[in-house]
C-alpha cells in the first residue's frame, strides 16, 4: 500500500535533497581550494609532476627490472606489482588452506576435527600484526646466516636472508611454465570428467584418473623439454656475502604471505563450514540415496548450493587480505604503502598527493575484487532459482 504524498511534499523533499547535495559539494570545493591555496602560500610543492622525476632509490624485491633513471612512476608500478603478488598468492593459499581446514572440521575423524578447531581458534584470535611479527622475528630471523644455511641436497638453501631455489635463467621461462601448468590443469579437468562418465557407465574408476593429478606437472616439464634450447637453470651459489643465482625469496616476502594466508584461512574455513552446514541435510541424504559417494555428493550437490552463502563473506575476506597486505610496511617489504607513503613521502614531502594516490589505488583494487566476486556470485546463483546478489 503506497503512502500518498502531495505534489507539494514531493517538491519539498527534492528541494532539500538538492540543497544538501549542493552544500556537500561546496564544502568539498572549499576544502580543496583552501588546501591548494595554503600549499601555494607556504611554498610546498604540489601537483603530480614528481611522478616523472628520477626516484634514486632501490627496492629490495621487484618483479620487473629497473635502472637508475627509473622514475617515481616506475617505482610505484613495481611496488603495486609487489602488493598484487602478495595479495594474489595470499588469496590462493588462504582459500586452499581454508577449504582443507573446513573439510577437516566437518569430517568424521575426531582428531582431525580437533586439530582443525584448534587451528581456527588460535589463529583467529591473535592480531595479524603479532602473527606477522612472530613469523618474521621469531621464526625467520632466527635462521642462520648465509654461510651456515640449511640446504636441501645442495640445491635449495634456507637462511635468514633468503629462501634460494633453482630457477630458469631466461626470464621468458616463467610465463611459459605457468602456461604449461594452466594447460595441464585444463587437460586434467577434462580427463576427470571423461573418467567420471566412464565410472557411471562401468561402475568403477578407470585407472588413468591418477594421470589427471600429474598432468599439471607433466605438461610444463614437456614444454621445458621442447623449448629448452636456451633454458639454463641457474643454481644459487654462495658468493661473498650472499647467495646469487636462482630465485631468492626474501624473508619479508615469505613471512608476509605466510602470515596473511594462515590468518585469513582461519576465517575462510569458518565461512565455508557455515556455508556447507547451511545446505539442508536432506540434500546430502538424497544424494547418497541416489548412489553418489560422499565425495561426489559434497562436490556436486552440497558445495554448489553452499556457494551462494559462502561468496559474499568470502569476498570480504579477500578484500581484508588485500588491505592487510599493507602491514608489509612494518617488516620492510617494499609494497605499495612502504614505497608510496613511506620512501616517496620522505623524499618528496608531498603528503597530500601521495596519501591520496595510495588510497585511490587501494580503493580501485578492492572495487575490482568485489566486482569480480559479485559476477561470480551472480553466475553461480543463476542455476539455483535465486536472483543475483
Amino acid at each position: 500500500m503506497q503512502k500518498l504524498i502531495t505534489i507539494k511534499q514531493r517538491w519539498q523533499s527534492w528541494f532539500w535533497q538538492v540543497l544538501i547535495l549542493l552544500a556537500l559539494l561546496s564544502t568539498l570545493g572549499i576544502f580543496a581550494r583552501n588546501l591548494v591555496l595554503n600549499l601555494r602560500e607556504r611554498g610546498i610543492a604540489s601537483g603530480f609532476h614528481f611522478l616523472g622525476q628520477v626516484a634514486g632509490f632501490d627496492l629490495a624485491f621487484h618483479l620487473l627490472s629497473y635502472d637508475h633513471t627509473a622514475s617515481f612512476g616506475r617505482m610505484f608500478l613495481l611496488a603495486l606489482l609487489n602488493t598484487l603478488l602478495v595479495s594474489f598468492l595470499g588469496i590462493i593459499f588462504a582459500s586452499l588452506i581454508g577449504l582443507l581446514v573446513a573439510l577437516a572440521r566437518l569430517s568424521k575423524n575426531p582428531l582431525l576435527r580437533f586439530l582443525a578447531s584448534s587451528y581456527v581458534e588460535v589463529l583467529r584470535n591473535i592480531p595479524l600484526l603479532l602473527q606477522l611479527f612472530f613469523w618474521y622475528f621469531a621464526v625467520l630471523r632466527q635462521l642462520p646466516g648465509p654461510r651456515q644455511s640449511f640446504s636441501l641436497g645442495g640445491y635449495v638453501f634456507l637462511n635468514n636472508r633468503s629462501l634460494a631455489i633453482p630457477f630458469p635463467e631466461d626470464a621468458s621461462a616463467a610465463p611459459l611454465l605457468l602456461l604449461g601448468f594452466l594447460v595441464g590443469l585444463i587437460l586434467g579437468h577434462y580427463l576427470n570428467r571423461y573418467a567420471r562418465r566412464l565410472r557411471i557407465e562401468r561402475g568403477s574408476y578407470p585407472i588413468f584418473t591418477l594421470g589427471s593429478f600429474l598432468l599439471p606437472l607433466a605438461v610444463p616439464a614437456l614444454f621445458a623439454l621442447l623449448f629448452s634450447r636456451h633454458w639454463t637453470l641457474s643454481f644459487p651459489e654462495l658468493q661473498g656475502f650472499n647467495f646469487s643465482g636462482g630465485l631468492q625469496l626474501i624473508p619479508e616476502f615469505v613471512s608476509l604471505v605466510l602470515a596473511l594466508s594462515l590468518y585469513t584461512a582461519a576465517f575462510i574455513s569458518e565461512i565455508i563450514r557455515a556455508g556447507v552446514l547451511s545446505v539442508g541435510s536432506g540434500q546430502l541424504e538424497a544424494a547418497q540415496a541416489l548412489g553418489l559417494s560422499r565425495r561426489d555428493s559434497l562436490r556436486l550437490i552440497v558445495l554448489p548450493q553452499a556457494m551462494r552463502v559462502i561468496i559474499p563473506p568470502l569476498s570480504s575476506q579477500y578484500l581484508n587480505l588485500t588491505k592487510n597486505s599493507s602491514l608489509a610496511a612494518a617488516i620492510a617489504f617494499p609494497d605499495l604503502v612502504l614505497v608510496f607513503a613511506g620512501t616517496a613521502l620522505n623524499i618528496t614531502g608531498q603528503a597530500v598527493e601521495l596519501m591520496g594516490l595510495t588510497m585511490l589505488v587501494y580503493l580501485s583494487l578492492s572495487l575490482s575484487i568485489s566486482f569480480m566476486m559479485n559476477r561470480y556470485q551472480a553466475q553461480t546463483s543463476r542455476y539455483l532459482g535465486q536472483g543475483g546478489h
Binding site: I30, I44, A45, F57, N242, T343, A344, L345, G349
Partner: protein
C-alpha cells in the same frame, strides 16, 4: 530554520581568507614554550636519558632558542618524530622548529616550504660492519645486504655509490632507526649505513660493540641543521643567529663559567655579543641579554659538543670538520655587529 541560516553563515566565513606573515615569536611568547621536533632516539643528538629528559646536541639547540626568546632554557616541549613525518609536522605547525639531524639538500629546501637556518653538525655517510666479515673498505661490500633507514638521503646515496662503482647490494629498509640496528645485530644484513655520528651512537647499542668497525669511507656530505617553515623570516633569523651565537661564543672564548668575570672585559666583540653594549637583540624583538642567557644556561658550542659528542661523552667523536674555521674546521659564525 535558524540553525540552517547559521550554517550558511558558517560556510561563508570560510571564504574569508587571511594572508599574513606568521608571528611565531609572538605565539611562542603567548604560549610560554617552544615546540621542538626531535628524533625518536639518536644518542648524542636527541635521546631521552634514564629519567626521560631529552639530551643531545639538537636538544640543546632548542633549549638555547628557548633561553634566547623566553629567558628560560627549560621552556621547551619535545616531540619525537620519525623520518617520514618530520617535515609534515613542521609544515602543519605541530612544531615550531625541527632540530632532528636533518641534512640540508636542494630538494628539501626548494620543494617542502621549509628553510634550513644553518649547519650545526657537518657529517657524512659511512658503513658499520662486523669485524668477522673481514672487510676493510666499502669497495669490498659487493653483494652485501645493507640495512638503512627508510626514505632518507642515506638510501639515495647508497644507490648512487654502488651504481657508480658497478657494485651490487641487497637493500633492507626499516622505518625506525632502532629496527635497523636490531636487524643488523641479528645478522639480517652484513652492514649498516647511516650518518657517521649516528653509527658511533648505534654501535654502542649493539650486543658486542667491540666486534664492529666503522669503515673509513665517507660517501656523502650530510650537513645537519635545524629547519623552520616558510612564512616567518624573523623566526628564521632568530634561529640562525642563535646558532651563530653559540659558535661566536666559542670563538671569543666565552663560556658558561667565565661569564661573570667577563662583565669587566674591554673586548668590544664580547661586550656586543653579551649585550653589555648596544642592543643587537632589539632587531629581532629579543631582550639585550639574549646571547648571554644562551651561554649562561646552555654553554657555548664547544661545551655542548664535548658534553654530548666529544670528550665528555661515551661517543668521543673528534671535532674534525666541526671545529671552528680558525682551528681547521668548517664552523664559521657571521659577524655580530
Amino acid at each position: 530554520m535558524k540553525s540552517f541560516w547559521l550554517g550558511i553563515l558558517g560556510f561563508a566565513a570560510i571564504f574569508i581568507y587571511t594572508h599574513a606573515q606568521a608571528d611565531t615569536l609572538g605565539e611562542i611568547t603567548k604560549r610560554g614554550y617552544i615546540k621542538c621536533g626531535v628524533s625518536q632516539g639518536l644518542a648524542g643528538f636527541s635521546s631521552p636519558d634514564k629519567t626521560g629528559a631529552w639530551r643531545g646536541l639538537d636538544v640543546d639547540f632548542c633549549r638555547a632558542l628557548a633561553a634566547a626568546t623566553l629567558g628560560d632554557a627549560n621552556k621547551v616541549k619535545f616531540t619525537a618524530l620519525s623520518a617520514k613525518e618530520r617535515f609534515t609536522a613542521l609544515q602543519s605547525g605541530e612544531i615550531d622548529i625541527l632540530s632532528r639531524n636533518t641534512s640540508w639538500t636542494i630538494v628539501r629546501d626548494a620543494s617542502l616550504g621549509v628553510d634550513f637556518v644553518g649547519v650545526i653538525y657537518y657529517d657524512g655517510q659511512g658503513f658499520l660492519v662486523s669485524k668477522k666479515a673481514g672487510v676493510k673498505t666499502a669497495k669490498e661490500l659487493n653483494g652485501a645486504s645493507i640495512c638503512v633507514n627508510l626514505g632518507t638521503t642515506t638510501e639515495l646515496n647508497l644507490a648512487d655509490y654502488f651504481r657508480s662503482r658497478n657494485l651490487t647490494y641487497k637493500l633492507v629498509t626499516f622505518e625506525k632507526n632502532d629496527e635497523v640496528v636490531a636487524a643488523y645485530d641479528a645478522g639480517r644484513c652484513d652492514a649498516m649505513s647511516s650518518d657517521r655520528s649516528g653509527l658511533y651512537a648505534d654501535r654502542s647499542k649493539l650486543k658486542k660493540p667491540d666486534e664492529h668497525i666503522i669503515l673509513p669511507e665517507t660517501i656523502s656530505k650530510e650537513p645537519l641543521g635545524p629547519v623552520v617553515r616558510h612564512g616567518d623570516n624573523r623566526w628564521a633569523d632568530i634561529a640562525r643567529w642563535t646558532l651563530f651565537a653559540l659558535l661566536e661564543a666559542e670563538e671569543l672564548k666565552v663560556n658558561s663559567h667565565n661569564l661573570d668575570q667577563l662583565r669587566s672585559s674591554t673586548n668590544p666583540s664580547i661586550r656586543r655579543l653579551l649585550g653589555f653594549e648596544g642592543d643587537l637583540g632589539k632587531n629581532f624583538g629579543l631582550k639585550p641579554d639574549w646571547a648571554l642567557q644562551i651561554i649562561k644556561q646552555i654553554g657555548n658550542y664547544q661545551e655542548i659538543y664535548d658534553r654530548h659528542l666529544g670528550k665528555d661523552s661515551p661517543l668521543n667523536i673528534a671535532r674534525g670538520q666541526n671545529a671552528l674555521w680558525n682551528e681547521g674546521g668548517l664552523q664559521y659564525p657571521m659577524p655580530f655587529r
